[in-house]
Every structure is written in C-alpha cells, then in structure tokens.
C-alpha cells in the first residue's frame, strides 16, 4: 500500500480531533465517500445513473430523429447507421424513442419518490415518536396497504381512474409509501429512548422540534438506501403497468408501452421489443448497484 502524499485538506478531513461540527461532518462524509469509491460495483452504478439522467435531459440534443415521426415505408427496419436501434412497427426511430422514454421513466420515478419518501418519513416518525393509539391506527393502515401486492393494487387503482402517466404515478405512490413508514417507525423507536433525546426533551424542546431536528435526520440514511433500492422496483412496476396497457398510453415512448406495442414481433424482429427492455434493465440495475453500495456505506448493519 503506497502512502499518498498528504494534502492539507485531507489532513483537515481525516483528523481525529475535529475542531468544529462542520469539520467533523465533512470528515465523516469524506470517509464514507472513500468507502464508497472503493466499491467498483457501486461506482459503476453511480456513473450509470448519472449518465442515464444526463442522456435523458439531453434527449433533444442526442436524438437524431423526431420520436413521433412515422415512416410507414420503413417499418421494423434492422439497426443501421441511419437508425441505430432500427425502427418500430410505425417506422419510428427506436433510438430516439428510447432516449425520450428515459425522460418519462425517470420523471415518474422522481415524482413518486418526491411524494412517497417525505410522506412515509413523516408518518413513521410521528407513529414511532407518539406511540399509543396514533401509532396503532397509523400502523394498521400501513398493514392494510402492505397486504396488497404492489402491482395488483396499482393495477386496480389505475383501472378505476384512467390509464396514463399521472395515474401511474399516483397508483405507485399509493402502494409505495408503507415500507417507508415502517422503516422510519422502526428507526424512530430505537432513537426515541436514547439519552440524547431525553436530554433534548429536558431542554424543553417541543415534540415537533424533536422529530424534525433530531429524529428525522437520523432516519435519513437508511431511508436514502431504501429509496435508491426502491427506485428499481418503481421503474419495474411502472414498466409493467405500461406493458399491461394500464400505464402510459401509446404513442408515448414509455419503455413498457413500447414493449407492449412491439411484443408480437418478438419472434421475427426481436430487437424492437428487446431494446426498450434492455433500457429498463440497465436503468433498474444502475439504481440497484448504487443502492447496494450506499447500503454498505450508510447502513452497514443491514448488509
């Protein structure tokens, strides 16, 4: 192991005796980053996730065709220099559609997480901290939603409203929050009885402040891990809804819907349904790799 030349900032970060809270916090973050960086799978995941986000944001620049432009004379073309991933059943460029599809998928994932994570955290922290009947009622409701397999409840929900991207997001959000609430509650229960919370309470802090400033931040790291690992499940559920015709509707270039439209060509023009499938796979895998690595760093006891 060759010792690298020590730089002042690294010494500042790695010191055993930080002189301020800020220094301690950054030192901790730097150590985590060093652990994370040492894991090639996790690093791959991070790079992939960033690349997928970048490619989706830059879709208008990267796409060489209009994703909606039909060319019926040139249906189901094999991949070529003109159409990198070939064309679909209406002669649309698959490469451009996959790029635009990424925007839809990532948009749905971000929307679901933005709703679900704070909601689950709030419910779990309140239930865990308050205890008593509030806890019982909230956890019973959580149990009811956990009792449904996620996809089934989402399907029933979407069918009752109207299939589409918005209802997909709503349906997945409806089914995704209970595990977060459970997790946050479990964490809160272990934090609630610690001495430092007792100390904060003695200073006269209100329950609201204790939850917001002292309990919730400590639940965050396991929540982040959970969210990252859950991203892939959300992507797969959204894609499955699209595939079953209950999610995004054609002509939207959502990946699941693209596969549904092209699945009858699997035996002859197999690349048409397979390419969006691979896009789903790589995106889900990227989040899983990232989440797996984050778990090792942020939540080592879970493994």
């Amino acid at each position: 192991m060759s010792e690298r030349a020590t730089t002042p900032w690294r010494d500042w970060l790695l010191t055993d005796t930080p002189s301020s809270r800020r220094q301690a916090a950054w030192g901790r973050r730097y150590r985590m980053w060093r652990d994370f960086r040492a894991n090639p799978l996790a690093l791959t995941g991070l790079i992939l996730v960033l690349a997928i986000f970048a490619a989706s944001l830059a879709a208008p620049l990267l796409a060489n065709w209009n994703p909606a432009a039909q060319d019926l004379a040139n249906r189901l073309a094999t991949p070529s220099a003109r159409h990198w991933f070939g064309t679909d059943e209406l002669g649309r460029d698959v490469y451009s559609r996959v790029l635009y599809g990424g925007r839809i998928t990532l948009g749905m994932v971000v929307a679901v997480v933005a709703v679900v994570a704070p909601l689950g955290l709030a419910i779990g922290c309140v239930a865990g901290y308050a205890g008593g009947w509030a806890d019982r009622v909230l956890m019973r409701v959580t149990d009811i939603f956990l009792a449904f397999p996620r996809l089934i409840l989402a399907l029933a929900f979407v069918a009752a409203i109207r299939p589409g991207i918005t209802s997909t997001v709503a349906a997945i959000a409806l089914t995704a929050w209970p595990p977060y609430a459970r997790l946050a509650r479990a964490e809160t229960l272990t934090i609630r009885n610690t001495d430092f919370i007792a100390a904060v309470r003695l200073t006269g802090a209100s329950p609201f402040r204790i939850i917001l400033r002292h309990v919730a931040p400590l639940c965050l790291s396991s929540l982040i891990v959970r969210v990252t690992l859950d991203m892939s499940a959300i992507i797969l559920t959204a894609a499955a809804l699209g595939f079953l015709g209950m999610g995004a509707q054609p002509p939207s270039p959502e990946w699941g819907a693209m596969i549904a439209a092209a699945r009858r060509f699997i035996l002859e023009q197999w690349w048409v349904p397979t390419i969006p499938g691979i896009a789903i796979f790589i995106t889900a895998l990227a989040f899983n790799l990232l989440g797996d690595g984050l778990r090792d760093v942020l939540d080592p006891k879970q493994r």
Binding site: I144, A147, P149, I152, L155, F157, S232, N288
Partner: protein
Amino acid sequence: MKSGLRTLGASAASVLVTLFGLVLVTFLIGRVMPIDPVIAIVGDHAPPDVIAQTRLALGLDRPLPVQFWIYLNHLMHGDLGSSVMTSHSVVDDIIQYFPATLELATVAIIIATVIGVPLGVLAAVRQGKRTDHAIRIFCLAGHSVPIFLLALLSLLIFYATLGWAPGTGRQDVVFDGEVPIATGLLTIDAIISRDWAALHDALAHLAQPAGVLAYFSMAYIARMTRAFMLDALQGEYIVTARAKGLSAARIIWRHAFGNIAIRLVTVLALVYAGLLEGAVVTETVFSWPGLGQYLTVSLLNADMNAVLGATLVIGLSYLLLNLFADGLYRLLDPRAK
C-alpha cells in the same frame, strides 16, 4: 405454549382488522372512482331509462355506507357478483382460474428455493471473494430485469430458436379434456389418473413460465439467505462449534444454517405471496389461464366485479401466507417459546 397460542390469537385478530381494511379499500376503489359500473354493463349508448333501472338494481342510488354493508353481506355469503365478460359468477371464475396460478407459483418457488438458498449460503461463506461478487451481480440482475422482457426472450430462445420448450398455454390441445379434473392442478391430476404423457406435457409447459418467474424470487431468496448467514456466522456458537473440531460443512449447515432456517421460512412465505404479483405479467406473456391473466383481461374490459374479486383473493392469499409464516415461526423456533 399457551402464551404462544394467545399471541397467535392476537395476530389472527389483527389479521381480521387488516382483512376488513382490505375489503374496504377494494370496495372504495370500485365505487368511489370515476368509472361508472352501469355504463360498463349496459354500454355507452343505452337509453337513459335502462341506465336508471340498472342503477337501481345494483343499489347504486343508496348512500355509500349502505352499499358497503350490502357488499360485505354478499361477500359473507361468498358472492362477489358476476363478471360482465364471462357472464359467470366471479367466484366460479376464480375457482376455475386459481389452480393454474397456484401450480405456476408453487413450481416457481420450488425452483427459486432449491437454487437460491445454496447460492446465498455460498456467497456468505465466500464473503468478499470473487464467488460472492459474482452471485451479488447475478442477484442484482434478477432484481433489475423486467419479468416480461425475460419472458419474451425466453420464448424467443427456448421456443422459437432452440425448440426445447413448447409454446404458450398450460397444455397441448391433444390433452385438452383428456385428464379428469380432480384438483385443477394439471400435474397432480395427471399423476392421479396415471397419465404420464399428460404429466410430461404439463411439466414441459410449466418449465418456461415457472423458470422466468423463479428468477426474480431466486435473487431475493439468495440475498436474504446471504444476509442471514453472515449474521449467523458471526455468532459465538460458531466459535464453539469450531472449537469442538467439527467439519466446515457441519458448521455451515447444521449450526449456521440451522439457526436461520426458520427465519428463512418466513421469507419464503413472503416470496411465495410476491409470486402472485409476478404471475400477472408472466401469465399475460405465456397466455397462462390463471388468475393473473383473468385480472388483466378484466382490467382491459373494465369488468370491475372481476377485478375487485381477483384483487381481493390475491390480497387474501397474501395475508394468509403472512399469517402462516408468522405461526410457523412461533411453533418452530425454540427461542420464541
């Protein structure tokens, strides 16, 4: 033992509450959402008086709690209404379609367990080594692949290209109606009537969808097994076992695995319940006449009674499996007594 029974009773009571919630949620999805069950039955272009008549007949003019009470009453008598699509009662439909899903899910969990558990144990024993990383990637891939992609590729490779597997469906037309139905599970029925050709055909048709369905669960099982094993291998009793001079195999399987086996059963029950979910997509691709396909077809036809009935049955199975796992854990683990 007695207190074990009491806690079992308490959890049964909490299951009843959950079950009530389950029914309420399905009911609300069916009634409050802006889909009109009347239109779904009589069609868009029915004259207004027909629509009004149907609405009355369905009791849809009543207040919501009354409607729920009626729904609950029917449910108690095993009545889930009738399906618009098949024009049979939903209960009959479910009885007809459920065995296919049960058979599929059962074969899938057997495959997933037989492969997933040893993989997880192996990964834990070789923690941090190349084998562990390989298994980790294999598992993460299993968590990431959309099941319908896997199903389509499986059809492309094993059916269309290699010709190893029969196509979609549960059995070849030749055997249709040949084997007397006893359980609805084609493999068991074939064994009962000693029709080995039919058994072979049923298993051949099962292989593809069950294999596809098993992959996702296998990944989960292997991952949980690894985590449990790593935990168990840290135990002081493992040091004791080594100090006794036992073989590595005995330490791993008898001592470490012996300690996680019961916890693993709980995971298996959860996975089994989760398979019902995967079955929806798999059945659609393989034209498997099970509950999952029934659900999707009813969804596309806005056949709300059928959708809610199927959802309820799947939710109920899920719940019962959880209760079963919990009870098993209490009965088997000496620490829980």
